[in-house]
Symmetry: C7
């Protein structure tokens, strides 16, 4: 049994892909998270269809997150 928060702990300082509720994909290095699945990403790139935007350091509210996959 792997708790979701344990797996997030193992993803620290690794590249992850975050899917948001509005279908935006964020790719970046996970440097932090809390109990609400609020997250901190570094060197973040946002992908919406074909468009890529560099966002740098981003704090994400957990309730907009659908899933996190390890890259």
């Amino acid at each position: 049994m792997v708790l979701p928060s344990e797996l997030l702990g193992k993803c620290l300082n690794r590249k992850v892909s975050l899917l948001l509720k509005d279908n935006t994909l964020l790719e970046g290095t996970l440097t932090g998270f809390d109990d609400y699945m609020n997250m901190v990403l570094e060197d973040t790139e946002e992908r919406k269809g074909e468009t890529v935007r560099k966002l740098g350091t981003v704090v994400l509210r957990g309730n907009n997150v659908v899933s996190i996959s390890v890259l």
Copy 2:
């Protein structure tokens, strides 16, 4: 009487199909979950209509999950 969390416990290390609120289907091996029905899937494949994407290890936020069926 089977508590929903008990049934999830029995699904550990088995293949499940997850339906998300936006109609995405995720298939993978359930390796963990918590009280909010946040879940960990391994070897995950995402199906959206005809499109299949390999996602590997994924953490899912429970509040996007509609249902879990045992494959």
Copy 3:
């Protein structure tokens, strides 16, 4: 006075019809539920318009459920 949870208790091992927020109908045998109205259905069939899909054993998150009717 019948508490909603008492009525659910009386539905255990009986066929019920579940209406979800996205208008999907699920029919199956209710084998469990918890305080959040998360539910376990066995021998589940999903009806979306004309389409019927067999889903087997399903865990449903309560917050997608609109209503449960006894068949």
Copy 4:
């Protein structure tokens, strides 16, 4: 001052009309409710535009309910 739950208590065993978030109207006899405004209706009829469906005994999740009016 009439607490909403007190008024619901007075509606027990009376016919009520329930408006749901998706504009469905349910008419039936209120036989129970709880603190979350989950409700039990007997001899329920669902009205969606012109269509009427007989549903019998129904448990409703409170968070889909907009309003309850006494018939």
Copy 5:
């Protein structure tokens, strides 16, 4: 400083107009409310565009309410 619940207390037995999330307007006499802003209206009239419906006594779930104005 007027707490929102204090103002609601002063509205008891007065005519109010309630705006719901789906843009429905309800006018009626406020006879009760609770901590979740669930409300009881008497002699309620529902206005949706041009259409007016008499609803009598109505219990409203707070989470569908946008605003209450004093008439």
Copy 6:
């Protein structure tokens, strides 16, 4: 560091502009609020596109509020 509730406290008896989730703008004098950001406005005017409606005293449920700006 200014807590959001402190800033609201400083806005008491001043004109504010409230943006709601459905894009309605409300302008009025803030006379109260609580921990859920439910608010009381006096001399309220509602702006929806070109249309302006005078609403007088209004109680607003916090969960429909997007932002409050000081006028």
Copy 7:
């Protein structure tokens, strides 16, 4: 490990870009926030597509916020 709230603390008195659920972008100086990610921005500019509006001091409800990036 950087907690999301710690990162917000480091953003105090710096320019940030806030993305809201309806795709509005707000740029301003972050002067405060609380546990719900309600935030206070000064010298705020709202960008919706091509349109820019000056909003001055703004309180934002956390549950409309998608992400905060450091400018």
